[in-house]
C-alpha cells in the first residue's frame, strides 16, 4: 500500500484461483444470512414449547463433545490444505480423510441426539420450539453432510493424481466451505445450547 498502490488491477486471465475464492467468500456471506434467519427464528421461538419439552432436554456434555469434534475437524482441514499447497498428495489425503471422519462422527452424534429428543417427545411438529430447533440444526447437518461428500471426492481424486489439476472444485475451496460450516456451529452451540440452559 505504500508505493502508490497500482490503480490498474492487472489480472492474469489464466489464474482462476482468486476468482473462485471471491465467489466462495461472497457465497459464504450469503450463507450467513441463511443461517442468521434460522437462528433468529429459533430465538423468537425459544420459549414457545407448547408445554412440550424445551431446552431442558439438551445434553450439554454430549453436545460439547460433538462440538469439540467438529471444531477439531477444522484443524485437520487446514492441515490438509497446507499439505495441498505443498503439493504433498499423501499428507493431503490423510488429513482429508481425518476431516471427513470427524465430520461423520459429528453427524452420527447429531443423529443420536435427534433420536433421543424424539423419544423424549420433541418432534418437528410438537411446538414452534421444536420446529425451529430441528430446522436450524438439520440444515446445518445437511451442510456438514455435503461437506463430507466433497471431502470424499477430493480424497478419491488424490489417488488418481488429479488432485492438483485445475478443476471446479479444489481442496482450498472445500476447506473454506468446511471451516464455514464449523463457525456456524460455533454460533449455534452458544446460542441454541449454552444460552438456553
Amino acid at each position: 500500500m505504500t508505493s502508490q498502490s497500482a490503480p490498474v488491477e492487472v489480472h492474469d486471465h489464466h489464474d482462476i484461483k482468486p476468482i473462485r475464492k471471491a465467489a466462495m467468500w461472497v457465497f459464504l456471506g450469503s450463507e450467513c444470512m441463511f443461517f442468521g434467519s434460522m437462528i433468529a427464528t429459533f430465538l423468537l421461538y425459544r420459549n414457545e414449547t407448547a408445554d412440550g419439552p424445551g431446552a431442558e432436554i439438551f445434553d450439554i456434555p454430549f453436545t460439547s463433545a460433538s462440538s469439540f469434534i467438529l471444531l477439531m475437524s477444522s484443524l485437520t482441514m487446514v492441515l490438509a490444505h497446507n499439505a495441498f499447497e505443498n503439493r504433498d498428495p499423501r499428507a493431503t489425503r490423510i488429513w482429508l480423510l481425518a476431516t471427513a471422519m470427524l465430520g461423520t462422527t459429528f453427524l452420527a452424534g447429531q443423529v443420536f441426539e435427534f433420536t433421543e429428543f424424539v423419544h423424549k417427545g420433541l418432534t418437528l411438529s410438537t411446538s414452534s420450539f421444536g420446529s425451529a430447533f430441528y430446522m436450524l440444526t438439520g440444515f446445518h447437518g445437511a451442510h456438514v453432510a455435503i461437506g463430507v461428500l466433497m471431502l470424499m471426492t477430493m480424497f478419491y481424486l488424490s489417488f488418481s493424481g488429479r488432485l492438483f489439476d485445475d478443476r471446479g472444485l479444489n481442496v482450498e475451496l472445500v476447506g473454506l466451505y468446511w471451516h464455514f460450516v464449523d463457525i456456524v456451529w460455533i454460533v449455534i452451540f452458544t446460542v441454541v445450547y449454552l444460552l438456553q440452559v
Binding site: 500500500m1 450463507e31 450467513c32 462440538s67 492441515l79 449454552l194
Partner: protein, 96 residues
C-alpha cells in the same frame, strides 16, 4: 498492508496453536453456565467467547487475515449485516 502479506500463509505450528486456543476457549464456554458467580454476565460473555472462536477460525484457518481485502469485504457484509436486521426483527416482537 495485508495485500503484501498475501501468500505468506501461517505455518502448521500456528495452526496447532490456534487449535489449542480454540480448545481452551471451548472449555471455558462449557464451564461458564455452571459458575453461578458469572450469571449476570453470562450472555455477553458467551457471545464474546463465541466471537473469539469465530474470528480465530476465519482469520487463521480460513486465512482471511492474509488474503485480499476484497474477500473480507464480501464476507463481512453478510456477517455484520445479519445482526442489525434480526435485532430489529426480534425487537418488534419484544423477543429480546
Amino acid at each position: 498492508m495485508a495485500e503484501t502479506a498475501h501468500r505468506a500463509h501461517p505455518s502448521p505450528s500456528t495452526y496447532w496453536v490456534i487449535a489449542g486456543i480454540l480448545a481452551v476457549v471451548t472449555a471455558i464456554e462449557i464451564a461458564v453456565p455452571s459458575i453461578s458467580a458469572l450469571d449476570p454476565v453470562k450472555v455477553p460473555l458467551l457471545w464474546a467467547l463465541a466471537a473469539v472462536k469465530f474470528f480465530a477460525v476465519v482469520g487463521f484457518f480460513m486465512h482471511l487475515r492474509y488474503e485480499k481485502k476484497l474477500y473480507r469485504t464480501l464476507f463481512f457484509f453478510g456477517v455484520f449485516g445479519v445482526f442489525p436486521l434480526f435485532i430489529v426483527v426480534l425487537l418488534t416482537f419484544n423477543a429480546l
